[in-house]
Amino acid sequence: MSTNSSTVAGGTEFSLQRSSPRYGERAIKVLLVACAALSVATTIGIIWALFVPAFQFFQTVPITDFLFGTQWSPLFADPEFGVLPLVSGTLVITGIACLVALPVGLLTAMYLSEYAADKTRRVLKPILEILAGIPTVIFGFFALEFVTQVLLQNIWPNTEVFNALSAGLVMGVMIIPTIASLSEDAMSAVPRGLREGAYALGSSKRQVTLKVVVPAALSGIVAAFVLGVSRAIGETMIVAVAAGLQPNLSLNVFEGMQTMTSFIAAAGSGDQPTGSIGYQTIFAVGALLFVMTLLMNLFSIRMVRKYREVYE
């Protein structure tokens, strides 16, 4: 009898040690850890690749000149490195997109989750999700050819061919499906019992939706907003095609504007010798974009922590 086996009263021998080593178990674990590590490693790699040239850039150009300067012509013979025109272009266009997409997306989600019949929802939701998969370059040409030339220029003849408004509007349309679909998921996940409790107190459907379902789903809805807005900020093709490539520190949405992403795309497709200041500029702008998106994410996480309602 080995030290680890015992005999029960009836005389049968038993052991609590495992009978054979579980290699499969270990292999699965290694595989899962490797997959998780891959995305972490990629993120670290991207940050490294982004921030090293950006750091070199700031050895040449003082960071205050970069952040607060109002002239942007980094690739000219007499370069100016004030990034504000790009930042403002990005914020203006993203802002227009949000004005369109946040209310429309949330209302769509409210309709789908609370008002639409089951059948309607089963038809509409997949259509929305297909919309989310349209390549953005198609949205870009839709903005340029249709929204600008057929709509805007007929309503406001002064609208430039490349303008922030059409890019922003179409970008808003582009992110509606993301926001609506994810918000709807969050709202549908709110337990039925909460709705019934509210109805039993004599609430109307509107009150149940606004006072019970939306607050209970808030963290999911904010996550949907953040994902949508992140997509808008990072969107390149629509702005490159429809808003033009002219840096423009202005709030006039009928004028063309360059965004941070469309600068990166344009400068990156020209040939900037590795290590040149033009090359480093791309990474400096990229790093700023990264930081802005990160700050937005952190901010919204805090907001959600503060206001969310946790159900079980």
């Binding site: 019992g193 019934e196 109805y199 609430s203």
Partner: protein, 281 residues
């Protein structure tokens, strides 16, 4: 009868014997049938609900007690395909007639559910929700919240933490919070669907005490699985069972309705007797 004697072992009645006939009915069911699509879950129920009394619904699982209870305040409207035939009269008005607004019905006929369902809001906001929906002035809310919690016997336990989440309370406290939330809108009738099903005996006893208090002011209808509970808390009892029709489909049906002590001590129907003695065994 021996079975009868067996049946009453352990039956402790908590309320004075009710009169044989209902003198003042708040609600009256006339030939009520409830359907889910084509399926007739409840068949032909006729009964009054006596004012300021506690009426208990008992019967085996799946015999349509919840279904019937939810037809009292039109909660079935929220289930696609659910339909009620017959008349559900509330003070003489059929709540299913076309000019009746279900929202108005639910303001007068409140409901407490089987699983406590406090909103994921603060204790205060849970109670204030209903009055706010009714357009109550902000200045009155503090008082309503306190009064409702006092009446639901929860005030002493929560008065120092009104701004913590209702979800953070224990199951029994959550259920009393839901009762407080219900009485904050001052309903006429309170429907309770197995309110103690998920609670321990101590929490259950608290809720039962509370029901006795509330019966002075409200009309209560309670569904319960627990025979002893029906005996302890109710004035009248309705016993339901499910009949199997020629096609093998089960339909819920009211077998016997009367003062609780009669139903438990001298049931007229052998099915009632069998169920009660089986449950008290």
């Amino acid at each position: 009868m021996t079975t009868n004697e067996d049946a009453t072992v352990g039956a402790q009645f908590g309320r004075a014997a009710a009169s044989e006939k209902v003198d003042e009915a708040v609600m009256e069911l006339r030939n009520v049938h409830v359907f889910y699509g084509d399926y007739e879950a409840v068949r032909e129920v006729n009964m009054p609900i006596a004012s300021r009394e506690i009426t208990a619904f008992i019967g085996p699982s799946g015999c349509g007690k919840t279904t019937l209870l939810r037809s009292f305040n039109r909660m079935n409207d929220l289930i696609p395909g659910a339909r009620v035939a017959g008349e559900v009269l509330y003070h003489g008005v059929d709540i299913y007639s076309s000019d009746v607004d279900p929202i108005e019905v639910r303001r007068r006929i409140g409901m407490v559910f089987q699983k406590p369902n406090p909103f994921p809001k603060s204790i205060y906001d849970n109670i204030a929700y209903g009055p706010r929906v009714l357009g109550e002035k902000k200045a009155n809310l503090d008082e309503i919240v306190e009064r409702s919690l006092v009446r639901a016997a929860l005030w002493e336990e929560v008065k120092d933490k009104l701004d913590t989440s209702g979800m953070a309370l224990s199951g029994g406290q959550q259920q009393r919070l839901c009762i407080a939330r219900c009485i904050a809108v001052n309903p006429d009738v309170i429907l309770m669907d197995e309110p103690c099903a998920s609670l321990d005996p101590i929490a259950t006893a608290k809720i039962e005490d509370l029901m006795h208090e509330l019966a002075a002011e409200y009309t209560i209808v309670i569904v319960t699985h627990n025979m002893q509970q029906a005996a302890r808390v109710s004035d009248r009892t309705a016993f339901f069972t499910a009949d199997v029709d020629a096609k093998g489909v089960r339909h819920g049906r009211l077998v016997e309705f009367g003062p609780t002590q009669d139903i438990f001590m001298s049931p007229k129907d052998s099915r009632t007797e069998g169920y009660i003695s089986g449950r008290f065994g």
